[in-house]
């Protein structure tokens, strides 16, 4: 057999049948549901009198719309409450395993899946949310789907797909101290652009990627979407297996050993073909952040805001100017030192225990700058508990951060955590589009350490100066 990539192998393992027009019926091992994109799919099943084919391969959790403040009170926003109650009715009716709002296991679906061992290497995983790519860090083929497809998976446990193209992004070398996975991914997106991965599944490879822990790999795969890709992948290795071992829903004992020997066969074969191959040197990557309203507008924290006048292409020039106006920045200004109003540490990109530790390291013994609102929203109830055991909550509270309950929160501003027009936010999330975190809000995407540094200095700051 010709040498195959990790993607090719997972794909081949899941093709039920390839139809004459080239689409395949692809089998799905895990279907993750949340309250926003599932209700109409359940409604469709009900209208057609269909059943959920495999509830035991499905998991549901509430995250997008949940309040991240006091949860003993009823949810105020009627539409959010309706979505959550609808999900609760649906999981009951169709028998779907569900992590309710008040359970410690509740959290952002892309944090909960890996944390529970529900997402495993070699699987196909789908969810009605584009950042499903996060689970690719385990070496699983994971991607977001639309509501019709959610219903299709519910009824058939399969999806109709054409194979994506293979792309490899290699990062070789040693990351400099103070440079995190988020900086690596921002640098990659800055390098290949938001359309760089279009039509491809990206495999992240190279010594710098292999050197990352699972949280870091999840940050990278999470933002594959912002690089235009269908999904992101990292080959499963000992780091992966150590992470998966003993998770509640992972295989146990002898089954686990059998699973590991299968997972070891998944890595890309030598000489496998990639349609696109890009490499970066780890040493060249600095702590980074975005200055504009597209994730590819990346700068090192030591950099200056680019000047549209230097851009030859007229439409790009106009677009850059529009971004600068929206962001309230001047061409040529140093990005470091720009004052911020809000700091958000959370989202499926950066809300795991490792992310909170990195932020706490900067926050320890310091105070949130006056006039800045800084909040920490752990990715799940379990992350929150772990942080509290380690005393991280106390570090944050002493410094003046808000310590909140798990959910998507200000990543998308569907719940009450929103920016007001003109507010500038240092955010560990993944999207900086106009109005994403609230109408008129200005988002700078950056790492947890950089976000914490912005909180305690009141402005965008090189976190390396504080540790």
């Amino acid at each position: 057999m010709a040498p195959r990539t990790l993607f090719d192998k997972i794909w081949d393992h899941h093709v039920v049948e390839t139809l004459p027009d080239g689409t395949s019926i692809l089998y799905i091992d895990r279907h993750l549901l949340h309250e926003v994109t599932s209700p109409q799919a359940f409604e469709g099943l009900r209208l057609a009198g269909r059943k959920l084919r495999h509830p035991e391969m499905t998991m549901a959790v509430v995250d997008h719309n949940v309040p991240t403040s006091d949860r003993t009170q009823p949810i105020e926003e009627p539409e959010s409450r309706n979505q959550i109650e609808t999900l609760e009715r649906n999981v009951k009716e169709f028998g779907v395993p569900y992590f309710p709002l008040l359970s410690a296991s509740q959290g952002i679906v892309h944090v909960v899946g890996p944390e529970q061992g529900i997402s495993l290497p070699g699987m196909t995983i789908v969810c009605g949310d584009s950042h499903t790519s996060t689970h690719g860090a385990l070496g699983a083929l994971a991607f977001g789907i639309g509501t019709s497809e959610v219903e299709h998976v519910m009824a058939t446990q399969t999806i109709l797909q054409r194979p994506a193209k293979n792309m490899r992004v290699t990062v070789e070398g040693q990351l400099a101290p103070g440079v995190s996975a988020k900086d690596v991914m921002l640098a990659i997106i800055g390098h290949i652009g938001t359309a760089g991965g279009t039509g491809h599944v990206i495999e992240f490879a190279g010594s710098a990627i292999r050197g990352l822990d699972m949280a870091g790999r999840m940050t990278i795969c999470n933002m594959s979407i912002e690089a235009g890709a269908r999904a992101g992948l990292v080959a499963p290795d000992d780091t992966t297996f150590d992470y998966v071992r003993n998770r509640p829903f992972a295989p146990k004992g002898e089954d686990f050993e059998k699973a590991v020997s299968f997972w070891r066969t998944l890595a890309t074969d030598d000489g496998a073909h990639f349609d696109k191959d890009v490499s970066l040197r780890a040493e060249d990557i600095a702590p980074s952040l975005t200055w504009g309203t597209s994730p590819e507008t990346v700068l090192p924290i030591t950099g200056t805001v680019p000047d549209p006048a230097q851009e030859a292409d007229e439409s790009k020039r106009a677009q850059m100017q529009r971004m600068l106006d929206y962001m309230g920045l001047e061409a040529g200004q140093k990005i470091a030192g720009t004052p911020v109003d809000v700091v958000f540490i959370g989202s499926c990109t950066n809300s795991r225990i490792e992310d909170l530790r990195a932020a706490a390291q900067v926050a320890a013994g310091r105070k949130v700058a006056e006039g800045v609102r800084a909040m920490i929203v752990p990715g799940s109830g379990l992350v929150k508990m772990q942080a509290e055991e380690e005393g991280l909550d106390q570090i944050f509270l002493d410094a003046g951060f808000e310590w909140r309950e798990a959910g998507c929160s200000m990543c998308l501003g569907m719940n009450p955590d929103k920016l007001t027009p003109g507010q500038r936010c240092a955010s560990t999330s993944n999207r900086n589009f106009e109005g994403r975190q609230g109408p008129g809000g200005r988002t700078h995407l950056l790492s947890p350490a950089m976000a914490a540094a912005a909180a305690v200095t009141g402005c965008l700051t090189d976190a390396r100066e504080l540790v």
């Binding site: 109409q40 019709s148 299709h152 009824a155």
Partner: protein, 207 residues
């Protein structure tokens, strides 16, 4: 899904290009939990005045177009968001066929998934159909899917192209799910094969 064979119905003209999904149904209605019942929000910003009353000048508020089942527009119909609320709103309003010189990709696909037939025809022809549609209660167009023609009120037939597979799905009223379930045997035997090869695959059960 309802079968789509021949549709003889009132057509309404919206002579605009780039009618985006937000115009078809504004984002603020997306927090719903149902796909039915969205028809009352279709074209909200054009259909209603700021005080919530109907805008009497808007075509879909006038007779006989209140009952239009066919829409004719200019280029790039359905651009914007990938969510399926736009076809749901159209369908719930009663629209079964949309005709335009071009469509946004995802919207085009989403129409088929929801039993709406999108037809691509050159702009001059769309203009002719728009003028046909102004002939009051005589403004009926006939969409003959088996023969792939639009029949104008004067009897003239305009041929259109459609992917044979999609045509089959619409004619039979099959959605993707129905289509895939015809491969039940293959899915079953795949499941048995995996159970044999990877018996360690855990299932998710909560107590």
């Amino acid at each position: 899904m309802d079968k789509f064979t021949t549709l003889s119905a009132v057509a309404a003209a919206l002579p605009e290009a780039n009618i985006d999904t937000d115009k078809i149904i504004p984002a603020r209605f997306l927090k719903t939990t149902q796909r039915t019942g969205l028809g009352k929000y279709a074209f909200d910003s054009m259909r209603y005045r700021p005080d919530g009353s109907e805008n009497p000048d808007f075509i879909l508020n006038k007779e006989p177009w209140r009952k239009a089942e066919i829409l004719v527009t200019y280029d790039n119909l359905g651009c914007g968001s990938s969510r399926e609320h736009a076809p749901w709103a159209l369908l719930d309003f009663g629209i079964r066929c949309v005709i335009a010189p071009s469509f946004a990709d995802i919207f085009f696909n989403n129409c088929f998934k929801n039993g709406i037939l999108p037809i691509t025809l050159p702009r001059e022809i769309c203009e002719q159909l728009m003028s046909d549609s102004t002939m009051g209660s005589n403004a009926r167009l006939t969409i003959d899917l088996p023969r792939q023609v639009v029949v104008r009120p004067d009897g003239e037939e305009v041929p259109f192209e459609i992917d044979p597979f999609r045509k089959h799905m619409l004619l039979e009223g099959l959605d993707d799910i129905g289509q895939t379930l015809q491969h039940e045997t293959e899915i079953k035997s795949f499941e048995q094969k995996v159970a044999g090869e990877r018996p360690w695959m855990p299932s998710i059960t909560l107590d």
